[in-house]
Structure formats: C-alpha cells, structure tokens
C-alpha cells in the first residue's frame, strides 16, 4: 500500500459486495485494503478500548490486528465471514494483552502529567464530556466503576461480554470467534454478567 490513510470522506465508489473488496485486497489492490480497514477499524478499536480500557493498548491491538490481516489476507478462504475471521484475530490479540498484563500484575493505568497523576481512560472520557462538568463527573465515576467491574472478569469473560453486549454477536458467533462451543461462550457470559451486576447492580 503506497497511499496514506487519511481521516475524511472515503471516495464514493459504486457499491460493491464485500467479497469483491476482499478479493481485490487479496490481489494486492491498496484501495480495497483501505476500504476494508475503514469498514471495520472503528469496531476493532472500540472492542480493544472496551476490553483493555487503555488507549495505548487499543492502538497496539489495532496495528497488530490489521498488519496480521494484511500479511495473511491471502490465506482467507471465505470458510467463515470476514468479520468472524477479523474478530478472531482481534480477540486473540486482546487476550494476549490481558494475559501479559496479568503476568505484569496489572500495570497501572495512571499516567504522570504536569498536573499530577491522571487516569488514561479518564482523559479519554473527559475528551468526550468536557462541555458539562456534572456530566464529566458522572462519566468519570461511571467509567471508574465499570473499569473496576471489568477487572473482576477473566480475560475470556471480558471478551465474551464485549462481543455479546456491545457488538451484538450471537453466542454461536462468539463461540466461532473464540474457537470454542456455544455452550462454553454461554457459561462465560453468565459468569461475566453475574460479576458485573454484583459490582454495578445499583445502576438499575
């Protein structure tokens, strides 16, 4: 790919089925690859952010996932949907990050700044809610509580919860993404929701 991925409108082209775009990307068309990235990259970044709760880690997952797609796209044989294949790559990388983080005994999400220590996710949440101090405070408190609730989950539970609740995947699809059975995904979702509600039950 020689072009630069820029933020802005994607040039309008005649509507083309995803299969054709994938085939074009497989044959080395850089525009097709860029279209593929742009179709899925917000979802990929959203999954990584919600699972890892760290913008830096989410950025790394994004890079690693799309570079793996770029290098291995020729091996994609349409045996499953492209998004299942992509989400499998993304969730595997997220799981690796979470496992490494566990080994490092949960790295601190606090960043030292000139204004004192600041939580990295709070900075991200504030960027969206800076207009209203009450909203900022609420957003910060809620974000902190969700983060605490997520920390009670195992890496796999986190991923299953994210894919079912936020991405709307069916349990069967989650099983395919994680290379496990629907029943195992169901058990994982059950444990995740129980733990989340134990911490966040009063949100209801």
């Amino acid at each position: 790919m020689t072009g630069i991925l820029t933020i802005g409108a994607v040039p309008e082209r005649a509507a083309s089925p995803e299969t054709e775009i994938i085939r074009a990307a497989q044959s080395g068309d850089p525009e097709a690859f860029e279209r593929l990235v742009r179709t899925y990259d917000q979802s990929v970044l959203r999954i990584a952010l919600n699972v890892l709760r760290s913008p830096e880690d989410a950025r790394d997952v994004y890079q690693e996932a799309f570079l793996r797609v770029y290098r291995n796209l020729h091996t994609f044989r349409f045996d499953c949907s492209f998004h299942t294949w992509l989400y499998r790559i993304v969730t595997n990388i997220c799981l690796d990050h979470l496992r490494k983080r566990k080994v490092r005994r949960e790295e601190s999400s606090v960043l030292d700044t000139a204004d004192g220590p600041v939580d990295r996710m709070e900075r991200l949440e504030e960027a969206a809610a800076h207009a209203d101090p009450e909203r900022t405070l609420y957003s910060r408190q809620l974000g902190g509580r969700i983060k605490a609730a997520l920390e009670n989950l195992t890496p796999r539970e986190r991923v299953v919860f994210e894919l079912r609740h936020f991405q709307g995947l069916r349990l069967r699809g989650i099983g395919e993404v994680l290379g496990t059975s629907e029943e195992a995904a169901k058990n994982c979702l059950f444990r995740a929701t129980q733990k989340m509600r134990n911490v966040l039950g009063d949100l209801a």
């Binding site: 991925l5 990235v37 959203r46 994004y62 570079l67 169901k186 509600r197």
Partner: protein, 289 residues
Amino acid sequence: MTCGEIRNAMPFYYYGELPPEQEEEVEAHCAGCAPCHKEVEDYRKFALALDEAELGPSLGLLSECRDLLAQRVGEWERPAPKPKWWRIDFRFPVAALALLLIGWFAAKLNLPGQSQPLITSLVRSVEPDASGRLTIAVDDVQRRVINGGLNDANVRRLVLIAARDESNPGVQVECVDALKRMAHSTEIRTALMDAVQHDPSPSVRLKALEGLKQFATDGNVRNALSTVLLNDSNPNVRMEVIDLLVGGGARDGSMVGVLQNQVHREDNSYVRIRLQKALQQMNASEGVF
C-alpha cells in the same frame, strides 16, 4: 420455572439467547411474579447504563491508528535500501530538518504577548529532487475556540457537521445532546431524525431519541421512529422507540401495523413483551389479518 431459575436465565433472556419454549416459560412466570418482573426491568436498566458509558474511539486516536498503520504497511512493502553512498535514505534526516524548520517558523509566528492559534503540523512526505530541492507535504491542523449558542448560524452549522461525523462518537454524543434542546427547529429535528436512523453508535441514537421525545406526535418523526423500530439492532433503542410511539396513550392506527409487524420478527424477549403490551394498550391484536 422457579424464581432462582428465572434469575439464572435472565442474561440469556435479555439477549434473546433462550430457546423459544424456555422464553415462553420466563414470560409466563414474570407475568405473575412481581420480583421476577422487576428483575427483567432491572437488567434492562443495567444494560442501558452500560450502553451509555460505552467508550467510543476519539477522532485523535482513530486518526493516529490509521496514520501509523499506513506507515507500517508502507514499510512492509518498501524494498530494503541499497548500501551505496549516493542511495543513502535521506528521508529521515530530511524529515527531521523539515520538522525543525516548522518549529522555527511556528516559534517566529508565536511572538510573546500575541495570542496565536495552536497549529499542529504533520510532515506527510519529503521528496528531494536531483538539484537538492525538497518538496514537503505538510498538513496543518489549526485549533480554534468558538463560543456561541445554537441560534448563531456558524455555531449551529459546526455542531450539525460534528453530529454527523461518525469517526468521533464522543463528540457526536455531545453535539446531539446540545441539538436536542433546539429540536423545535426543522433543520435540527431533521439532523436528529437522521442520527436516530443512521448513526452506528447506540449512545448517539439514544441521545437523538431524547431530543425527538417532545415531537413524538409529528408525522415525519413517527415515520422515522417506525423505521428505527423495524431496523435498529439495539434492543434498548427499540424499547425507547416503542415508548415514544405509544407514549401519548392515544390509539394511532398507522402504528398498529408497524407494531404488529415487529412483534413477530422481534428476537428480544423483553422488547417483544413491550410490543405486546403496547398493542394491548391500543386495543389491537398481535396478529396481522
């Protein structure tokens, strides 16, 4: 089913993952059991709170990721430089020189005591030609702070543009939140209807629905809401739409068909119960004849 079994089945019931016969058992049980009915309601509120706190990637982060990916894919494709002195890769020293020059110019522009807008410069490419001259492509992003209300046409235009910018859902939510207070303006109401039908972020769609609440009896708004009810993938959004469509309590004949249509295709048990109740309120049957 016992109350304990209902509680254990709740997440799967909410996400529409129960087999039909179990789903019917849950519904029958909840219809006559107040604590379990409350459990269903509590789960929905819990899920709604999570939806509202969902983190969307900011424009800055997305932009950074895309730029870095383009750069890394480019490096992957680029052949290794040949080790001849006249083929030394000048790009990095030249890019560094370009940045220094930009820094120097920026410093010259930002004289003490003068309030200058913040300009971020990003060198996109540096191409030396045979004579030693350089062609440098620089993106300048200038940040300005603008204050004003939505009655100011310029402010309104900017907010409307940002409300449609799907690359930054965080800012979108803020913009839709601001716009909803001015939904009496046709232009703004149209933007909210557009957001509720097409925006990929459920948080943005829920905010837009809040703005349309007071206009739920307007014909165009009702048409947009029925489209959302039939097509939206998020159960919380569909629930809010049903509340808006039947909120007034009045029987709207044109909506009965929409609700009847949806009740048969609805895969979320909780939303289906709400649809059935809405049809009951309207003295309409569930079936389409």
